[in-house]
């Protein structure tokens, strides 16, 4: 972890300090949010796409933070040229009982909002992409120093986030120092934060977030976004969900309390089930976040990738939106998406977001990567680094197999786990029996019976394929099924018997 400490002010730099509260010559109100200061109305531009800058919040022990102190290193507003552009950094030291490095990004994010409350001051973006403009009108009204901006911002912080007991600001316009701190302090901390995201898992949080943006065309779709499962469209992560829920708790992204964990492997939670039931109007009762076969997540229609089960090889294939050709099951993305979308739970098909391939819990109930048998080359290359090394050569692409038969041969040749049975890594349980021997038997049987000439394109049969009983009546029970039948041949039961 990057050490949290105050920055060192190099000797010979121009430094200006102000402590305590003061009156401001500008108004502070949420009504100024989103205000764009036009080029013609601009006094100066700080940071932004054409120069550099950053904002950073650092947590420190209380004895190191001098409350409401503002320091400026480098030239101030009254020394700047009208229409000029200058590098700019804003560093805030914060302290308080509840304050630790985890809270830093949450506090940092609010800088944007608070600074935009300031009349004649425009703040855009975050981190090292910030972009600030100060309007001529603000200067005319009496804004003289960036320390006034620092004070106003600190005041807002303390009012709006009372858990901040002490806050101190250091603003920098000195180019050399901005550049040095950007590379040596700010960027390493941003990277550290992003790395922490990868380490955050479902069990580390109390709440997931929902997304019902797609309900306009998939009325029963409820996306549940957890740290290990981003949205199907690929756009929304758990962090985005949290941010959106905070801004608008009644909006499309709402908090979903996890409740009790019923199944840690498949990812089933009482809170999620209740929420899904309520939001889908009762049509979805249970959702298992990391399962393909058992109460899978609903599929909206705008998912980036669709997974499909191929019973002939007892494995799962994936195809992305951009792949125009049929997958080995004979169906292109569009057809499968059409059958699956609309907010239904369709066993045998599952829409997912590209980022889910990254998840440590990727379909872990069904063996994860060890159950994956096929994906287009383009997709496989994109996600290659997330595939366990020993599986990388065992997942076929269109170059290896275009049909089920070719796929079978390929899988046997590379000794894919599905051939002899998949052991899921999460708990070492053997979840499939494999098919290499059975398959040979089947072939013989088929020959003895009359070979069905009308073999329909292989379709993922959901759950269990209905059993034909030996009784003279036929009983078909199909649940949650989507079946595509090319041709149906009905024969007398006697004839079927050997």
């Amino acid at each position: 972890m990057v050490e949290r400490k105050k920055i060192e002010i190099p000797e010979g730099k121009k430094v200006k300090v102000s402590v305590g509260e003061e009156d401001f010559p500008f108004e502070i109100s949420p009504m100024f949010e989103g205000e764009r200061i036009r080029k013609g109305d601009m006094f100066v531009e700080l940071a932004g796409p054409k120069t550099m800058g950053f904002e950073l919040v650092i947590s420190l022990p209380p004895d190191q933070v001098e409350d409401m102190k503002a320091t400026l290193i480098g030239i101030d507003l009254d020394e700047m040229e009208e229409g000029g552009r200058y590098p700019f950094a804003m560093i805030y030291y914060i302290a308080g009982e509840k304050i630790d490095p985890d809270i830093e990004p949450v506090v940092e994010r609010r800088n944007h909002e608070f600074q935009n409350y300031i009349e004649g001051y425009m703040h855009i973006n975050s981190r090292d992409t910030i972009w600030i403009r100060i309007g001529k009108n603000a200067v005319k009204k009496g804004l003289k120093s960036l320390l006034q901006i620092a004070k106003a911002t600190m005041m807002l912080y303390k009012n709006e986030m009372p858990f901040i007991e002490k806050i101190e600001a250091v603003y920098i316009t000195d180019k050399e120092l901005v550049e040095k701190l950007l590379n040596e302090l700010a960027r390493p901390i941003y990277e550290e934060r992003d790395a922490r995201v990868e380490q955050l898992h479902d069990e580390d949080v109390d709440e997931f977030y929902s997304c019902t943006l797609c309900q306009s065309f998939a009325p029963t779709n409820v996306c549940i976004i957890s740290p290990d499962r981003p949205s199907l469209c690929g756009a929304i992560t758990w962090f985005d969900g949290r941010a959106a829920a905070k801004v608008d708790p009644e909006g499309p992204n709402r908090p979903v309390p996890k409740g009790e964990c019923i199944d840690p492997i498949a990812g089933e939670y009482t809170g999620v089930n209740e929420f899904a039931k309520q939001e889908s109007g009762g049509s979805v009762e249970r959702v298992k976040l990391h399962s393909f076969f058992d109460h899978p997540h609903t599929s909206c229609g705008c998912f980036e990738v669709i997974g499909f089960y191929m019973p002939e090889v007892d494995g799962i294939g994936f195809v992305h939106r951009g792949y125009p050709h049929p997958a080995p099951n004979g169906l292109p993305f569009s057809t499968m998406a059409g059958q699956t979308g609309g907010g239904k739970q369709v066993v045998g098909f599952l829409g997912i977001g590209m980022a889910y391939f990254r998840s440590k819990k990727f379909l872990q109930a069904d063996g994860g990567w060890y159950r994956v048998v096929w994906m287009p080359k383009e997709l496989k290359e994109k996600v290659l680094k997330y595939i366990p090394e020993e599986m990388r050569d065992k997942i076929a692409t269109e170059e290896d197999a275009k049909t089920i038969d070719e796929l079978k041969e390929f899988l046997k040749r590379v000794d894919h786990p599905v051939v002899k049975g998949v052991v899921r890594p999460v708990d070492g349980k053997k979840i499939t029996d494999g098919w290499v021997e059975e398959k040979e038997k089947e072939v013989i049987e088929e020959r003895v019976e009359e070979a069905p000439a009308e073999e329909a394109p292989a379709i993922a049969f959901p759950t269990q394929i209905p059993q034909v009983s030996t009784a003279p009546t036929v009983r078909l029970i199909i649940k949650n099924a989507k079946i595509y039948i090319d041709k149906v041949v009905v024969r007398k039961v006697e004839e079927m018997k050997r």
Binding site: R38, K39, P49, H112, N125, L213
Partner: protein, 252 residues
Amino acid sequence: MVVIAVTGKGGTGKTAVAALLVKFISEITSNVLAVDADPDSNLPDALGVEVDKTLGDVRELFQVTRESLGTVDKESWLEGKIFEVIHEFDNFDLLVMGRPEGEGCYCFVNNLLRGILKKFMRHYDYVIVDCEAGLEHFSRKTIESADYIIVVTDTSRKGLKTAKKIRELAKELNLKFKEIFLVGNKIVGDEAKEIIKDFAKKENFVLLDLLPYDEKVVELDLKGEPIINLPEDSEFAKKVRFIAEVLTRWGS
């Protein structure tokens, strides 16, 4: 903020009217945003300015970048990018909506855009939108509503039919506009005047003005030269200036 949407069938001269409105209104206040919301027309050309980036580009960039953004706030990222594609000129800003969506899901990004544009547009005194007859950005609510809708038409049957459709659509979309106006263009002779007047009465439009057929407008259009170079003493320019004045009176 007053939002003025200029629409009509392509070829009726709506972009010429929109561009001149931008010119004249931005002479009254420089706090003007021009929005090119018609991928088939070219408001920047009509205004005589060059534009290289569009909102559509940002949207596409977001779609391919979103996964690598880590914990960066996507809304603020997007807002920053939008601010970068707003083109700033002396008297007005210009936002080009750009190309239509590609494949994939745009729910999330559009939802963010709606919020950002709403927050951002309200700081302008006037927002002038050149939009196609389908009023797409209004139906998607990327632009929330229009205060005044100006439908430009010539006397052609297609132009009038489109005008009628827009009238119906504006009602269906429940745009809370204050008024929907008709502007007749390329009007030569009394018969043409009567056609437009009758049409306005029948379809319940407020007829704002009748613009003449102007050789110079056609010539500028043919050469791809900015329409705002139209001599200010021409009848066409004078009439649009009058419309701009009327609108700003009503607007304030």
